[in-house]
Amino acid sequence: MTLLEERPPERYEAPERRLTEVIPAPKNKGILAYLTSTDHKQIGINYMVTSFTMFLIAGAMAILMRVQLAVPNNNFVSLTTYNELFTIHGTIMLFLFLGPFAFGTANYLVPIQVGAPDMAFPRFNAFSYWLFLGGCITLLSSFLTSSGAAQWGWFAYAPLTEWIHSPGPGGDLWIVGVALAAFSSMFTGINLITTVFCLRAPGMVMFRMPIFTWNQLVTAFLVLLAFPVLSADLALLWADRHLGTNFFNPARGGQPILWQDLFWFFGHPEVYILALPFFGMATEIISTFSRKPVFGYKGMVFATLSIGGLSMGVWAHHMYTTGAVLLPFFTIMTLLISVPTGIKFFNWIGTMFRGSVRLDSPMLFCLGFLVCFLLGGFTGIMLALPPLDFQLHDTYFVVAHFHYVLFGGSVFAAFGAIHYWFPKFTGKKLDERLAKITFVIMFIGFNLCFFPQHDLGLRGMQRRIATYPSSAGWSFLNMISSIGAFILAFSMLPFLINVWETLRKGKKVGPNPWDGMTLEWVTESPPIPHNFEFIPPIRSERPVWDLNHPDHPTLPHGKHAREMARERREAAMAGVGAGGALGGSATGPATDGDGHVNGHGNGDSPGDGNGSNTPGDGGDGFGGGSP
């Protein structure tokens, strides 16, 4: 008796997973519903909308900076304002946009993808959103104080942050805003881990969770390692500023390097906190639009885990030029990270290879993500090498590098995710034509804006300088970069129009417009309260595909596949003749799957899973049979 044969022919009503008595909801409407909701979907939307608003605000700051830098000797903004702008731009983008946006998608999608009715701690979840919103408002309000906003860059190096150098409440509001966001992230991390560990649907074993969920889980693990260190760091800084301690004050025996150590011990995992969820989104999208299961599912999971693990050991590669760190250790660890990242690239390309790729807008954004993130990754490997880093540290080369990683990587994937899951969030599909226009403008603007900055860095332009002399020879490239920034900003226009128009008069598209594969595509769009009326049997990492395409099921892999193959063999030996009934087409998938499963024999290595999984599927299901 194999599991694939057990699949019911049609949708069936599974007994409801009953919830413990739900508090009878007072039918709140409007603002009160928004304030008191503990529904993970509402909170996820809140996170996404708030963080996207912060993205637009910080983007506007970036435009101001690019105007200032467009021509030499410019006086568009004062030097103080320029310092405030790059500080708050960086802080918002890193603490209040990318991270919370990822947590918003996690809030919305992770419970649905694992078949849970809600996050594990719904009220705690709401609390973390309010902390995050409080952090946003606190940070922005620092512009209104007498001292202005913080002017010390997003990583706030001591001793510039000491009271004597940066007096006034602006800096304190920066500390408080970041601390609130940090606590919000920690609580979300706890919530995510508990949800994934304790609320999965029956049959959803760890190695059947979608890659997006896996990546969010690893991100949550990293959050719990990184953010407490940041909070401690901020507490020390606050004590230095207000209680007269001297942790970071070299004049009184303090240690400024300690701030850098603590900050980057948080800061480097933070970079992966900002990247891994977006890798997960890209994986889901590439898999759906190639109409194939993820190539090397287990390899992908192990790559994510090893990126997460290694990222804990690379913090001081931001501190090479301090001369106070062990260069070989951090170089080796940093170069090691490129291996699992390379595995991910290999698997993304492997997923597309011989799939029937559809170039819908989410897939376009993901292709943009692959290209740009690859460039960012390469410059990252370059910067990991101390001889090069000593040359390029704190130049525009570094600026270009991390914008290629965080914008070219994460933001492109985020836009892909918005376009991909928008039908799930709202029930309406974004207009494809406008979405493609958005992508093209964004891709051109992004590369025009940030590619010249590599060269600017090589020509010696330091980051964070507010203006430069015309004799420096940087004028032309800076002008190009500023034009690119405007094009990039302009690309928000078709996107916002698209969202507005779709929300206003888009047509309902039903639960599964993209022919998606993971559990969120089986429920209504937007999902009903507590998410599921029924859950299909979960027998692979793409249960909805199995339900919708019973003739091209996802073949199981690993230990489970071997057990199944053995059972099938025994059944065939016994003369029951169950072997041929596997799947739809008579010989192809059965022998294919069987051969691969037997061929790989023992061992739970990632390669085993891939071997038995992908070729069989790619071979039989998608050559001609995709609807």
Partner: protein, 129 residues
């Protein structure tokens, strides 16, 4: 539960190994301390999950079984309130406490009152349903 506690164990032991290498090679204190604390944190998580695992007499939950059916998961899952005003009250209290760090102690009074009241409401809500 096996996958879960194994994951925590892996994280913890990986951090231990990195901490040892880093300590022996560099002798630098702050990084080692942070790595060791990371190791201890996930070690704690591992031990907790291991006790849960053995308390359940190692019987796999429906979500740990490859052939688990949705029917097996029927029944009560947990307490999921649909609306609650306490999170936002607590959030306001927390922001008040935080603003006290920037602007002065009088903010703490407001923040503490709000936080305390909201915490009591939050904690008793599940019982009074």
């Amino acid at each position: 539960m096996r996958g879960e506690w194994f994951l925590a164990l892996c994280t913890s032991s990986f951090l231990l190994v990195v901490a040892l290498i880093y300590w022996v090679w560099s002798g630098e204190v702050s990084g080692t301390v942070m790595l060791v604390f990371g190791c201890l944190a996930y070690g704690l998580m591992f031990l907790f999950m291991l006790t849960v695992f053995f308390r359940r007499k190692r019987i796999p939950r429906p979500e740990d079984k490859h052939d688990g059916t949705i029917e097996e998961g029927a029944g009560e899952i947990a307490f999921f309130p649909s609306n609650s005003m306490w999170p936002v009250a607590m959030g306001l209290g927390a922001v008040g406490l935080a603003l006290g760090l920037a602007f002065g102690k009088w903010f703490w009074v407001i923040g503490a009152i709000l936080m305390f009241g909201a915490l009591i409401g939050f904690a008793t809500e599940a019982e009074s349903r």
